[in-house]
Subunit: 201 residues, 2 copies
């Protein structure tokens, strides 16, 4: 399927407007907005959605089953031991999971060449699970994802699975993983800026 | 870049020979060999590598940093509480992580059309992180991956992070996640067999 340039360009316009609105209302954190703007500057790319990485606690049987699951807590910055204790003191219906995710970006490109350039850029910046996930009339859709992340059951019913003396380590590990993800985001920004400086379109 | 059919076909031949050798020596578990053969039966596809999912314990600062990390234990089947205790009783240099991974497949296709068909098949079977990861002269390379998995620090130095009463839950959760992955593998086999029955090449 060939990308229809007109459709693609219209979508880019809409997404740019949305991005600028998000920036204006302070919805985006600084770490990711620079990167997103850098991608929009490229002639054949724009971003559809992004997450800079986060720590989420969910009450669910399995963490990837959305049905019957509840997000108990969500934060895009490091958590404190107090927050951890507060969250784990609340009653749990099924299992309480902590999920730390690295950054994830969905992009649309107008050409296959640009898609390949950005997948290579992603890989160079440590987003090792980067690839084309679909071909649509309004663009080639890419996902850039790193292997960074934790998924972790912390409580089953009323039973805490983390040992008392381990709580501080669990919290600091979650935060360390989160920050490693943000670091990759900075690397990606660098790699993509370098492409522009070297005039690689 | 266009795929060179001759190069691609030669590689398929080599990979098929290797697969049949692996089958012969019993290197592949039954769950995945059916699926791999089904993919090889397709005119424009073959598999490069695969893992049916596994439980690994590694001693490392961070689980995705290979440097200075040691695989302490690896199994493609459920683990027992005894195994968990035995592993966690041994001294740890840095941090001991348990990593349960879902199935992962790397495929090569001769055409973009076939790549898209298999990405859709992957997605339909719950391999939601499926995509084209590179374009090479000898084939278009796909990765089919699900979001299934656990990554989990269980010990820091000599300190166990899992509570005594939580050990059985941690072990059963690891096993549950592993088995959910194997289930997706069966679904993928079904979806791809259906394509053939419906004559979708």
């Amino acid at each position: 399927m060939r990308v229809c340039r007109d459709l693609w360009a219209k979508k880019k316009e809409v997404m740019l407007k949305r991005l600028l609105e998000d920036l204006h209302i302070g919805y985006l954190d600084e770490g990711i907005s620079d990167l997103l703007l850098e991608i929009f500057k490229r002639e054949d790319s724009f971003t559809i959605s992004s997450c800079s990485g986060r720590i989420v606690f969910i009450d669910a049987q399995l963490p990837w089953v959305r049905k019957m699951s509840t997000v108990v807590f969500k934060k895009h910055a490091p958590i404190t031991i107090e927050e951890f204790l507060e969250i784990t003191e609340k009653p749990v219906l099924s299992k309480l999971w902590v999920i730390v995710t690295g950054p994830i970006l969905h992009l649309s490109t107008a050409t296959l060449k640009e898609a390949r350039t950005l997948i290579s850029a992603g890989r160079a910046a440590g987003f090792k699970h980067s690839g084309i996930i679909s071909f649509r009339k309004d663009g080639i859709v890419l996902e850039l994802r790193s292997g960074i992340g934790l998924t972790y059951p912390v409580k089953v019913g009323s039973k805490l699975l983390v040992s008392h003396e381990g709580i501080a380590d669990v919290v600091s590990t979650c935060n360390e993983v989160l920050m490693k993800g943000k670091e990759r985001l900075r690397r990606l920004k660098e790699v993509i800026t370098n492409l522009r400086d070297r005039n690689i379109n």
